[in-house]
Symmetry: D2
Subunit: 333 residues, 4 copies
Amino acid sequence: MNGFGKLFRISIFGESHGLGVGIVIDGCPAGLPLVADDFTKDFSRRRSGSKGTTPRQEPDLPEIMSGVFNDHTTGAPLMIHFKNTNTRSRDYSLLRDIPRPGHADFVALKKFGGYGDNRGGGHFSGRLTLGLVAAGVVAKKLLSPVVVESRILEVGGNPNIEEAVEKAMEQKDSIGGIIECRAFPMPVGLGEPFFDSAESVISHMILSIPAIKGIEFGSGFHAAKMKGSEHNDRLVSTDGKTATNNAGGINGGITNGNDLVFRVPVKPTSSIHQKQNTIHMATGEMTDLEIEGRHDTCIALRMPVIIEAATAIVLADLMMQAGLVPRIWAKKE
Amino acid sequence: MNGFGKLFRISIFGESHGLGVGIVIDGCPAGLPLVADDFTKDFSRRRSGSKGTTPRQEPDLPEIMSGVFNDHTTGAPLMIHFKNTNTRSRDYSLLRDIPRPGHADFVALKKFGGYGDNRGGGHFSGRLTLGLVAAGVVAKKLLSPVVVESRILEVGGNPNIEEAVEKAMEQKDSIGGIIECRAFPMPVGLGEPFFDSAESVISHMILSIPAIKGIEFGSGFHAAKMKGSEHNDRLVSTDGKTATNNAGGINGGITNGNDLVFRVPVKPTSSIHQKQNTIHMATGEMTDLEIEGRHDTCIALRMPVIIEAATAIVLADLMMQAGLVPRIWAKKE
Amino acid sequence: MNGFGKLFRISIFGESHGLGVGIVIDGCPAGLPLVADDFTKDFSRRRSGSKGTTPRQEPDLPEIMSGVFNDHTTGAPLMIHFKNTNTRSRDYSLLRDIPRPGHADFVALKKFGGYGDNRGGGHFSGRLTLGLVAAGVVAKKLLSPVVVESRILEVGGNPNIEEAVEKAMEQKDSIGGIIECRAFPMPVGLGEPFFDSAESVISHMILSIPAIKGIEFGSGFHAAKMKGSEHNDRLVSTDGKTATNNAGGINGGITNGNDLVFRVPVKPTSSIHQKQNTIHMATGEMTDLEIEGRHDTCIALRMPVIIEAATAIVLADLMMQAGLVPRIWAKKE
Amino acid sequence: MNGFGKLFRISIFGESHGLGVGIVIDGCPAGLPLVADDFTKDFSRRRSGSKGTTPRQEPDLPEIMSGVFNDHTTGAPLMIHFKNTNTRSRDYSLLRDIPRPGHADFVALKKFGGYGDNRGGGHFSGRLTLGLVAAGVVAKKLLSPVVVESRILEVGGNPNIEEAVEKAMEQKDSIGGIIECRAFPMPVGLGEPFFDSAESVISHMILSIPAIKGIEFGSGFHAAKMKGSEHNDRLVSTDGKTATNNAGGINGGITNGNDLVFRVPVKPTSSIHQKQNTIHMATGEMTDLEIEGRHDTCIALRMPVIIEAATAIVLADLMMQAGLVPRIWAKKE
């Protein structure tokens, strides 16, 4: 289902080349100050246009359609909508017959019987993450003073980002990257041993973001090569601070007060400006496909703010479950 | 919450040194043949006793307490219970004051206010995974002919498993490992774009297993270093088969018919037979701690059957949601 | 939360005097034909304007904002929106200080700390049921050939409807009524013994509709006065048909193939054109209040189509859980 | 599914004539004092044996199998089990071929394909409510100082209970009854406008109890015959107290601080000691059936404590969602 969360719950909808995309945010406490300008910073971070991102330029202005009155949340669901204005649907006419490699065209055809809106990726489009970023802005406010920060560690296996992107563009190819996300200062006690461990709910959300194919907390995959004597984080304070943070801030599924740290790989953009071989679904014959249209060379460049938003949404829900967010915001102030 | 799943739903309970551990399995179709012997193979795979696993020897015999009549499931919830018989609680008396490094002792103290049953890890114990393995046996039957298989890729960074374990034992240390899981032949269409992508629900479940701190599907973290032209899996057949499987069998959150493939790191066992430094919660002073009792040198050795079970549980739920499992089993036969 | 359903899931949002109200429908199979005209009949049934209903005249045209392409559902969430156009907010300025008897003003003040949008009832308004009716139109298609029908049994304790309404209008008062809902031909097997009995999930949905304060299935409250020998429905056919239908089509929480039958009381509209006594929240003094603005004399008159829609939504979800609705609609045709 | 609740969540299992019945209670705060004797009072109220109830005499002693340590809850799930000891399975051999009127035999046959354990009603048995009563004992503690009380208003249409029961026994018939439930002092603000109104979640739970076929809050069905000027409850205090309580303590789906009041009809016991006509499923011929075995003349007599328990479970969950129950109980003291 297109929903997530227990007490702070989101539902997304929309298609890349339909009327718009949006999100419903349910469970937000009443009385939280919220104005259009609160969204400016995160949306400018997500926006396309920089080198390595698609030239499509949507204004991406969120319209708050419900749940806010007199610049404060009302306690009723927020619906935030983004109109689609800059769509060029002619680029996408053949996808039903000729599935693009790396894309969801084939599975969409099978799962939705050819009825899916395949223009620009339709409901699978990265454009759906606009709603996530909007909900993330709301969630970040609820988390305060906890802060969520993400950054690019590398793209194409290279920490020199601009250079790697330029080279890939020259090669008419695309590259992936690795993002690290960190939240602090973390409260102790979020998450459950089974099955809603902090790692579980964060992973659930993060791995639904298009192009994310993995996650690791703390020392993650490297932990498999470590000894217990190295990996065990030594407690150095009765508030739970540890000398190292191989656990990424989580023991037994529960946050331990140290920084929450995880990393995710972003796969290279599936659309590339090269001829690719695929199959024609009607004839069963192999065929060459050259994808036109606009697309990112390195989708990882846009990811930090999306990963932050997704993480903030999860943490807001966990903090509400733990009773750490007031039901009426003013009480917190 | 200690529950997971939508149509095929499990709830676990129990503590390592209490009366027992168990699981409730809800939503299992009626008419599935199920007898005690069905559990034998997977439980012998999980059982302790081999080199590198704890010498604690529980018979681990599942008792089916409800939901089965005349050797078939009834459609009502199955409750499967495991009595604890071989507990040595005296080993665990000081954990409340002196949290063990790498364990959940500190977070349990804070989250449950010192009321937790900390004997042997209590509800955090790996013993809770007995229920998972039992539910996995049921789930695997529902998946047929889809098969789930896991294996150890490496322990302590080393593919030579026995040697690495022996060396760690000599060093009174512990080591981690990496497990790969694979399911096939996969139906096309399981999972949703948002937020219940196949990766999301599998990750949710898998990352709630104690000692698992990450997951990657297909080429996973390596994808971040690849180019799109390399990473894109080329379709070679109208049934969705691809020449490579960098996507791990999932596009846009939906299974594509290729093998489902993922890997997880298992951290080194937290309990080691060395003196470790930690903090005394009452005095705030650093203190040395030597953990007695029984424990695995390499918990990864027991993991394959647990990972399989957890994966089978998720796939059974996704297949039921997709209408691929009959409500009354006999209809399938 | 403002969501309901497991596989066919709705989420509503909006306020009476804000920008609009709407609904997100998640889980609708792809390929269901859906055009604007499908909504005409049910919306004209719900519309205000007839004697006994408020003179407010909204065009109430649903806009399908997502999830439909080429006049068929795509399998992605439908978002259906209703713009608010005919609002007269000046009528509702004092509600925060002087709660109207019978309304949610007092609880909204306490639960949302005075931040709620109280214009016209805000998120509590009966206008929110527009989304329900829209989702009901979709659900009714999925149920076919099962039909859901509701009718007014009585208003103000009187089967002569028009007369009773006129009399109440003369008295500047309001009246309630009783609605009966019936669905047929019903499949056998919907619902569970615990806790999602057919009665349970229908009641859950129906009792969230504003002004509904009860429900009874089959002989309902009258059953309490019957003997077992009278109440037991005698089976007369191996397909489950019974000579009587005191059970309302449900045994043990599960539909038995006979007509599903239930009745609900609708309370009299809380807003009346009489002076009423209430309390001034700031001063604590009793005060008289005369509610201006537009309102229904008998809200029960609009209820049949809303009750039908709500019932159809529940049945669609139950039928999807039972595997009785194809994932791709064309397969049904 | 056999589960209910969001933060305070229960799952039930078991069969009337299997090994036992039980319940898993998840989300209970740690540190709540809980000993065997806490269950005594409510279980003696539920127990069979009084005139009008079945002579089957189970000791009905709850065994706490997990989640309690040193006489306090641990924060991990409680599993409470009831062994079946006094079963006489020979009474129930023919139910699969000859469905009993008023019972779930027919629907169970169709839904579970004849695999159901039909001995004594199996999973449909009223014996499953033992788990509810146990969970109710825990929930009532969490609610304190809110108290939940239920009582019988009438049986067989008659307030003179003993007389009515005796007469029905003489006639070898059964009778129904009406139960009223009340909770007080209620906090303001539990429940949501949509779809988790206080009425909705209470109804959901209550209507899953076997033999309950309706519910009404406050003036309920009688409200349909009232005028707005009569029905509107006049606020007489700034804490929300009203002069009357036609709303049953709920406005707009949210508790208003007045007593929560609802009534439910209990149908007459389906099993009676008279010859009844039904159908033989294999031959399709009508046949007479005389039900042997033990059963209640008036199941309503046992209902008050069950209704109380079910209500307390719902209120505990709503209060936890509202942040009114501490995560660690000691903090409350």
